[in-house]
Amino acid sequence: MLKSLEKNLPKIVLAPAVGLISWFVYGFVLWTFYISFTNSKILPKYELWGVGQYVKLWASRKWLIAVDNLLIFTALFLIICIVLGIILAIFLDQKIRAEGVLRTIYLYPMALSFIVTGTAWKWILNPSLGIQKMFIDWGFENFTFDWLVNREMAIYTIVIAGVWQSAGFVMALFLAGLRSVEDEIVKAAKIDGAGLFTVYWKILIPMMRPVFFTSFVILVHISIKSYDLIVALTQGGPGISTTMPALYMTQTAFHKSQVGLSAASAMMMFMAVAAVIIPYLYSELRRENAN
């Protein structure tokens, strides 16, 4: 009896983690999945209703705006963060004095919450006392910068704040990547007469493929889950112009009490994340097994 207990001790110790994750992650996702096929309003109903919620979701103007915003935000956020991250990493890799200080400055926003970031940028971007006023006071009397309260442009203020928060992180990933390349490779290329631009463009940057891949996955993941930053910066406004899927989900669930519909929107988010993550996990695992 005691012997078998001892033999199974590792599995018993594993049980809390496995049990909690089975219930709180997999069980809950399945529950949400099931509820998305019911006509649940304030309280969940367990009678199946078919795909009605999904039909309703994709016919909703607000959801379409949310998806549209997500696409705009993701594209810009991704491109700007990666381009900025690479440039800063390459420049910092040139034996720069005070590299440590600069690196610390580029990365500190990552330690702040999106609510703090949003609060700061909301103040900076507000037209009456922020950047717009600063330029007007400096003598540019016709200067306007009202993106925060402009329906067409408000989504770009979220890009500005999001990039500010995350670009330093991409820089750190690329810097680590560049530093891990063996000096020999660069030396060999130089002996072969490769110019410095060529060394980066033709050799080092192509070698950073895994870093690109990781940054891509992380940034897309951050953008699909974007919630706090929007709440703090625009609350989805002006009007509903900066709604994003995560905001749509919580508003539909907790303000409009449309539990079935919000479950359907959550499942759409889940599938979008899965489409990015599963190939990533698969390739990571293959790489680990190959080593």
Binding site: P10, S113, I218, I224, Y227, V259, I277, L281
Partner: protein
């Protein structure tokens, strides 16, 4: 294409004429400092705004230096004005966050450590699948679990309480803490464990006497990661708590959004700094560990 040449390594540049070299270095520093100012600008604006009076804010610009070091808005942000109802300030919520973060970090780190230990040192058939099974929890968008979680907390009678948030953060921290410890223990030679087993050491003895004492680096990384994540969380805090049980990020957001009277930007900025200071301090003191955690676990958004 000046940038192209700049984006090349130092040694090669040395061979070029000294003047070009100098110009390029200047350009390099110029770009780096330009971006540094973009990153530092909001922090600067937050600090100076928090030190100004509203009168000064209306008269000056974002960049204007305050006329005197005026900490009144800090006092108001932290302790309020002292007029009962409707007077929201951060002090109680700051303590809520502390009471939430300490147990949640402790439990999630401990469970992650022992799970990582089993998955690497007591391997059995299929353990890789269990790891993958746990790992997937790092990636799910939390919207997919919000509804059932809200109901579960209700059933357990811990909705809108700090205890409820401790449970939520502990559970959803496990995938990350397991990932950290598993990756760390994989690199520790299994011979160490085997030798101890031959000497008669049991499961727990090996963990507490051999592995834990050499786990300091990964414990630091994990604790910093979990602390930052939980302190900065808004989604769980705002969904599962309100009123008195709210953590600081929720309180900050409520303070900034409340538009009952004239907007006091100086108090808003002081509040934002107060809510951000604990994680900033950790970042400045332990940046190396912070970045290490970030690069291995940053998939959580």
């Amino acid at each position: 294409m000046q940038t192209n040449i700049t984006a090349s390594s130092y040694k090669e540049l040395e061979q070029k004429s000294k003047v070009t070299n100098m110009l390029l270095r200047w350009f390099l520093y110029f770009v780096l400092i330009l971006f540094a100012s973009y990153f530092i600008f909001p922090l600067y604006v937050m600090v100076v705004t928090s030190l100004k009076t509203m009168e000064e804010i209306r008269q000056g610009t974002l960049l204007t230096w305050p006329s005197a070091l005026n900490f009144e808005s800090w006092a108001v942000a932290w302790g309020g004005r002292g007029y009962g109802a409707g007077d929201t300030f951060l002090k109680p919520y700051f303590w809520n966050s502390i009471k939430m973060v300490i147990p949640a970090v402790f439990f999630s780190t401990f469970i992650g450590a022992i799970t990582g230990y089993v998955l690497t040192k007591w391997r059995f058939k299929g353990d890789q699948w269990i790891f993958l099974f746990l790992l997937f929890g790092c990636f799910i968008p939390f919207q997919a679990i919000l509804l059932p979680m809200a109901r579960t907390l209700g059933v357990l009678g811990i909705s809108n309480s700090i205890l409820g948030l401790v449970v939520v953060h502990t559970v959803y921290g496990i995938p990350f803490t397991t990932l950290f410890f598993r990756n760390y223990y994989v690199s520790i030679p299994t011979e160490l464990v085997k030798a101890a087993r031959i000497d008669g050491a049991g499961f727990f003895k090996i963990f507490f006497k051999i592995l834990l004492p050499i786990s300091a680096p990964i414990i630091v990384v994990t604790v910093i990661w979990q602390f930052t994540q939980i302190w900065n969380d808004f989604l769980f805090g705002s969904t599962f708590s309100f009123g008195e049980a709210a953590p600081i990020q929720v309180a900050l957001n409520n303070m900034v959004l409340s538009s009952t009277s004239v907007k006091e930007y100086n108090v808003d900025m002081a509040s934002a700094i107060i809510a951000g200071i604990p994680t900033l301090i950790v970042y400045v003191l332990a940046g190396k560990y912070f970045i290490r955690g970030l690069t291995s676990g940053a998939v959580k958004g």
